[in-house]
Amino acid sequence: MKNRILKLAFALLITISAGAQKPTLFLGAKAHLGNGTVIENSAISIQNGKFQLIADASVIRIDPSAFDTIYRLNGMHMYPSFIVPNTTLGITEIDAVRASHDYSETGGFNPNIRTLIAYNSDSKVAKTVRTNGVLIAQVTPRGGRISGQSSVMHLDGWNWEDAALRIDDGIHLNWPASYYNTGWWAEPGESKQNKEYQNRVNEIETFLTKASAYAKSSNLMDLKMESMRNLFDGGKTLYIHADNANDMRDAIELSNKLHLKKLVIVGAEEALKITDLLLENSISLILNRVHRLPKSQDSPVDEPFTQVKKLHDAGVHFCLSYEGEMEAMGSRNLSFTAGTTVAFGMDYEQAVKSITLNTAEILGVADEVGSIEKGKNATFFISDGDALDMRTNDVTKAYINGVAIDLNNHQKELFEKYKNR
């Protein structure tokens, strides 16, 4: 009951504080900064949409008059926004309804395609995701050899321009699998070695080589080539989706040969086999969904859960994703997958980092988001309990660029409606 009154008070304060220039102070929360550190009893202020003071409340003296509003959050947890990379959230609504799909364009090489302009800033699905602490998504196209370009988006905004955090952050390339499955989903045949593998890789090399040549000259406008230009000056990241160790090795080799500035591997099921190569080449990974079945019937039952800790111990730089079946709606469970990695050995703050700062670094947005640090965007949330555990995850407040967002959604409305029937 006490809690409820407190919450009511918050609501009032938000109204009053709108437009104020004085900072707002969040006092007493256990702040998980996202960079691997934690402040048990924190004092964190925001002003003009940015974090300002980041301090240990038990050490510093606080002058209440310096703050427009002070939230007392003892016993609660504060986190920087969780970030879901490599997702179709916002460009699809209902899996079975084709009309709601905007993630896969026809054609093989579509680097010029951009998810940005299809992004639905009023996605009903997104509103159920942010209520669990995910406020930022890398909205990513699917399909073809080169699917197109992703953008990093806030899960709130009046329109896509307003919601964009980083426009066209990178190009997504689906590396051919050296092994592939035959048959169709209901009658799967045996998996086979892909005899066309080398031909497909050659096609990629040809395409990227042309793009490299184009980037050095200034010819007539070619939409596809133009969209690839920044891969060679570090302006864009090439995200290569690959799982087999062999395929990742080939991808890295090609990237080096063509002097691509920034390569990230997405998926990386067999990353543990190539950790040395990843470290030598400073390659970051966006990992498959932790809550998945082991790779094969022979794999240890907890293989997907323990992989993360092992990669961490090997020093590999990575973040977690939620790609797979029902990924858009399911991305609200991203933080619980991080929780599972804690159960299987990860340090808690490092697990937080794998869905916050690491993700921001990999997506090239770490200057603005990913951790609670002075000068970064005040994009964060408060949870009543440990947000990595579904048992305690309870997001009570969330901010994007210092502005509180509405945590209501279609599902909550129905709950309220039928609860009080």
């Binding site: 799967p188 094969s296 019937q297 022979d298 240890p300 907890d302 579904m390 048992r391």
Partner: protein
């Protein structure tokens, strides 16, 4: 059986006469000499041999055979000294001489009705009217591979469909078709595969089983009625007198066929998979004779360590064990035949047969499997299968023991010779002195295989020359053509001439100084009796030994009882003989166990709960989860197709799940019957079932049953709207009521009236629906939208039964009051939505709202991955709706137990209940909780420490077999490593059997 014998004899006599009636263009020439094969090592049958004997044949018949025979005058004598004569082999699983059944053109639109014209069965896969003898004609190029491998006669049928029709038994001679057919209708064949039929039904293994069972019932009824004609049933009924052959797919099918055999009292002969060793006890249990292929898997290319990881341990173990399969069958006293079917290359038949011998198959057993056993099974052992006077002249002559390294020279069928390998009568090999003008006294070696010798003339080269031998003519030349010689061999001399580089001829003479030491004769049979171990199942994590009951005292645990006493701290729990026997503090083990026979586990850091129960699962199912080919398929049952080999069983045990309802999918309004299983890893399909559990059936509503997401071609099957769905239910239940009445009326007749009345047709679909009406079977209904949920409750109310469970039930919260009133429970997803249009209003608060309304509420998986962490899904009811932790925990344990009528034995920690126990490292609702141990019926099924040992064992086993494979010489062409594809079923998975 007697009648068949008569038919056979008549037929043979007739065929001989028939030939006489064939007009001859020219002068008739039908002199049949007597052939005498002398000095042969004659193998009469698997138990008798004549080391030096004579065989006399005339026409197509053996007229005499003994060690000491007077050879009649005028007989053609063939001295086959040293050669072996065997009765020719018999293959019972062949389609020789029959045209391959063609698959029709692919049609995007589904076909629900039969397109076959005529008064036949409604299902195109049931075609007992197909008669092989009317389609059969000899086909020399197809006979050749059989003859090359020693076969003389085969049982041929069209390998297509479920009731396939009859087979004809034919000889492989060049004589007329009339003479080759030895038994016109020799057997009837069945299988679970529908074959080329394009008709939708059946689309699953369980559908095939149900269709076949219904066919047996229909035939029984058909015999008694006279209202209609069905040619398929006429044939079906007639052929019941013949030997009944059933072709199965894998080792799990043995039990499936066995159940049908028991039900309809049929003695089948089973065509197996060659992997019987995987479940040898179940195979033996059927007591059926079987036919096995010897298509042993070839070895993989294991040179690349990384790609070798794609090969499952299951495939590696199968590769190692498969060649032992025939020997294992023999050791287990199982009567079996060997077929050449399923081989990719007929040349590997003898090679694999010999491999099986080296793996412990006794030669007599091998010969029996190829001769006497098949002959006896189709009751023609008086004509073929062994060598004896009066039997058909079907035999082959080989250089040596056929099970070692013998080469087949001639294969005689119906007294007619086929030359397989020309016998090299003379042996030219040896070491000679070469004498010619040009070069004197040069050494020549002729070595190698007798029929294909290699000559080396050391004056020219130390490498062998190109050599060819035909009869006693030998030619040899060097690669650049400057020396080309030819000569004739006679009595240790070769005389001939050669041409030099200038084109001049020179004569030469060669004289043998010493003989070649023949290594072919040094064959040594090495028998490997180290039969590899078989795990249950025979794959990674499989158990080598069956887990046994454990007596355990868990000390000081936090115990989630699910009973009124709630969660107890520092509490002891004792289990014995599969049951919970005590709960309390400071339990004294001496009160429960005698010394030394129990184990104490310090559980002070653990939470102890009962096992998780999944109300809605599709793991551990073979070949199809949906029989969606009709709107109503109550006749099919998941209980027929349980797959105990599914590794998801072990994965889910590692997540604390101990029992599941294996449900039919949601492709149609009235789906199939469910199976209630405990996840007893290592057990067989029958052992997995929960004894005494109530029967359930899957119903479904909404987008799946109206085929909304099946694409634009699927607009044919009724229903296509929710409106139609309602009518399907009413129609089904009214039909069931009428059917029930029919039987009641019939059963009320006096004995006398019954004799004059055709009984109603036994209908397994309607039987199931009647069970529902009588509350003897209970409905679990896949459902989403409130309108349809409401509708089904109305249907049930008006029909006088109660829906037991709505599963998924995502809008249940909108009609929770009505559900409570009806008395139906709900089993829902914790937080799934947005995957279909009908889940727009699915909310993660649903479980809480249902629970609060007094509806028994469970949370289920419907997903192999989620099924191993249902504890986390339960926690979402705490997160979203604010349900208490105890109530949330019940949603994946006690509540599903109640919904499945299992709560008397399961679902809580209570004295007397099953010892399905899970130890967790943490509060089981926490993401940080890991399973330490899972017990099912007091047997330890998962243990983190044992799991570590299994991983080490699996790795060692893998490396051991890879080493064997690297050394393998038998493999021939090596296979590329391939990953094993996983099949994961959801509600809406369609699959073709």
């Amino acid at each position: 059986m007697k009648t068949i014998r008569i038919v056979v004899l008549l037929f043979i006599t007739q065929s001989v006469l028939a030939q006489e009636t064939f007009p001859v263009n020219g002068v008739s020439n039908n002199f049949e000499p007597i052939y005498a094969f002398t000095n042969a090592h004659i193998v009469l049958n698997p138990t008798t041999e004549i080391p030096n004997g004579t065989l006399l044949i005339k026409g197509n018949e053996i007229i005499a055979l003994d060690s000491n025979l007077n050879i009649p005058k005028g007989a053609i004598i063939k001295n086959v000294a040293g050669d072996y004569i065997y009765p020719s082999f018999i293959d019972l699983y062949s389609d020789y001489g029959l045209k391959e059944v063609q698959r029709g053109k692919y049609n995007y639109r589904p076909q629900y009705d039969s397109k076959k014209a005529g008064a036949y069965h409604w299902n195109e896969a049931i075609h007992p009217e197909i008669n092989a003898s009317t389609e059969w004609s000899k086909y020399n190029s197809e006979a050749k591979p059989y003859l090359e491998n020693g076969f003389g006669a085969v049982l041929s049928h069209a390998k297509d469909g479920i009731a396939r029709g009859t087979a004809t038994f034919v000889a492989l001679s060049d004589k007329t078709d009339n003479e080759n057919i030895l038994i016109k209708d020799a057997a009837a064949f069945y299988s679970f595969k529908k074959g080329v039929s394009k008709q939708k039904n059946p689309s699953s293994l369980m559908g095939s089983i149900a269709l076949l069972r219904q066919t047996y019932f229909d035939a029984e009824w058909y015999e008694l009625q006279n209202s209609q004609t069905n040619l398929s049933y006429n044939s079906f009924i007639n052929q019941q007198e013949l030997p009944q052959f059933f072709a199965i797919n894998d080792e799990l099918d043995y039990n499936r066929v066995y159940k049908i055999a028991e039900e309809f009292e049929i003695d089948y002969i089973l065509k197996g998979s060659g992997k019987e060793f995987l479940r040898i006890d179940e195979v033996a249990n059927t007591e059926f004779p079987i036919i096995i292929p010897i298509n042993f898997p070839s070895s993989y290319d294991v040179s690349n360590a990384e790609t070798t990881e794609w090969i499952s341990l299951q495939n590696l173990k199968t590769w190692e064990s498969a060649p032992y399969n025939p020997a294992i069958l023999a050791k287990n006293g199982i009567e079996f035949c060997i077929t050449a079917a399923d081989l990719k290359d007929s040349k590997s038949f003898l090679k694999n047969l010999r491999l099986a011998i080296t793996k412990g198959l006794n030669k007599g057993d091998a010969l029996a499997a190829l001769t006497t056993t098949p002959a006896t099974l189709i009751d023609i052992n008086d004509k073929v299968g062994s060598l004896a006077k009066g039997k058909l002249a079907n035999f082959f002559i080989a250089s040596k023991d056929i099970f070692e390294n013998g080469i087949i020279y001639e294969n005689w069928t119906l007294g007619e010779k086929h030359i397989i390998n020309k016998k090299q009568e003379i042996d030219v090999r040896g070491y000679y002195t070469f004498i010619a003008n040009e070069f004197e006294n040069n050494l020549v070696a002729i070595e190698g295989i007798n029929a294909k010798p290699k000559l080396t003339l050391f004056h020219l080269d130390s490498i062998a020359l190109t050599t060819s031998l035909s009869g006693n003519n030998i030619t040899f030349s060097n690669p650049n053509g400057t020396f080309r010689a030819s000569g004739k061999y006679n009595n240790g001399h070769i005389i001939g001439n050669y041409q030099d580089s200038l084109g001049n001829y020179h004569s030469f003479r060669m004289q043998r100084d010493s003989l070649f030491e023949n290594k072919e004769d040094q064959f040594e049979l090495v028998i490997d009796n180290n039969t590899p171990s078989v795990w249950f199942p025979n794959k990674a994590h499989g158990f080598a030994d069956t887990p046994q009951y454990k007596n355990v005292l868990f000390k000081n645990a936090t115990v989630w009882t699910n009973e009124e006493i709630g969660i107890l701290q520092n509490t002891d729990v004792a289990i014995s003989e599969g049951k919970i026997i005590a709960i309390g503090t400071l339990l004294n083990p001496n009160d429960y166990f005698s010394e030394e026979e129990y184990q104490t586990i310090d559980a002070s850091n653990y939470n102890l709960t009962c096992g998780v129960i999944d109300e809605h699962s599709h793991i551990a199912i073979s070949r199809g989860v949906n029989e969606g080919s009709q709107a109503v398929t109550a006749e099919v049952s998941i209980a027929d197709v349980i797959n105990p080999n599914d590794h998801n069983i072990y994965r889910q045990l590692a997540g604390g799940t101990v029992a599941s309802q294996l449900l039919h999918g949601s492709a149609n309004p009235i789906g199939g019957q469910a199976a209630m299983v405990k996840l007893r890893w290592g057990a067989n399909a029958e052992e997995m079932k929960i004894a005494g559990a109530d029967g359930f059936i899957k119903f479904a509503l909404g987008e799946n049953v109206k085929q909304s997401n099946w694409g634009n071609f699927e607009r044919i099957r009724f229903p296509q709207t929710r409106m139609g769905v309602e009518q399907v239910f009413y129609d089904a239940f009214y039909r069931a009521k009428a059917y029930q009445k029919q039987w009641e009326d019939y059963n009320n007749l006096s004995q006398k009236e019954k004799r004059n009345t055709t009984p109603p047709r036994e209908d397994i679909e309607l039987n199931t629906l009647v069970e529902i009406l009588n509350s003897e079977r209970f409905v679990t209904c896949h459902s989403y939208i409130q309108s349809e949920i409401n509708m089904l409750m109305h249907v049930a109310d008006s029909m006088g039964f109660t829906v037991n469970t709505f599963t998924h039930i995502l809008e249940g919260y909108k009609v929770a009051d009505k559900m409570q009133e009806h008395g139906v429970g709900g089993s829902t997803f914790s937080d799934w939505w947005a995957y279909k249009f009908e889940v727009n209003d699915a909310i993660p608060y649903n479980a809480t709202l249902l629970n609060n309304a007094g509806v028994i509420t469970a949370i289920n998986s419907d997903d192999a991955e989620m099924g191993r962490r249902l504890n986390q899904e339960a926690a979402k009811a705490v997160k979203y709706g604010g349900t208490s932790e105890e109530d949330a925990w019940k949603m994946v344990t006690l509540n599903p137990a109640k919904l499945l009528h299992l709560d008397a034995h399961m679902g809580s920690i209570k004295v007397g209940k099953d010892a399905d126990i899970v130890l967790w490292t943490n509060n089981p609702l926490s993401i940080y909780a890991k399973v330490v141990q899972t017990y099912v019926d007091g047997k330890l099924m998962f243990d983190v420490e044992v799991d570590k040992e299994l991983r080490a064992r699996d790795k060692a086993e893998r490396m051991r077999i890879i080493k064997l494979m690297s050394e393998d010489k038998n493999g021939g062409k090596k296979r590329k490593p391939q990953p094993t594809k996983e099949i994961l079923y959801h509600c809406d998975t369609e699959h073709e059997e």
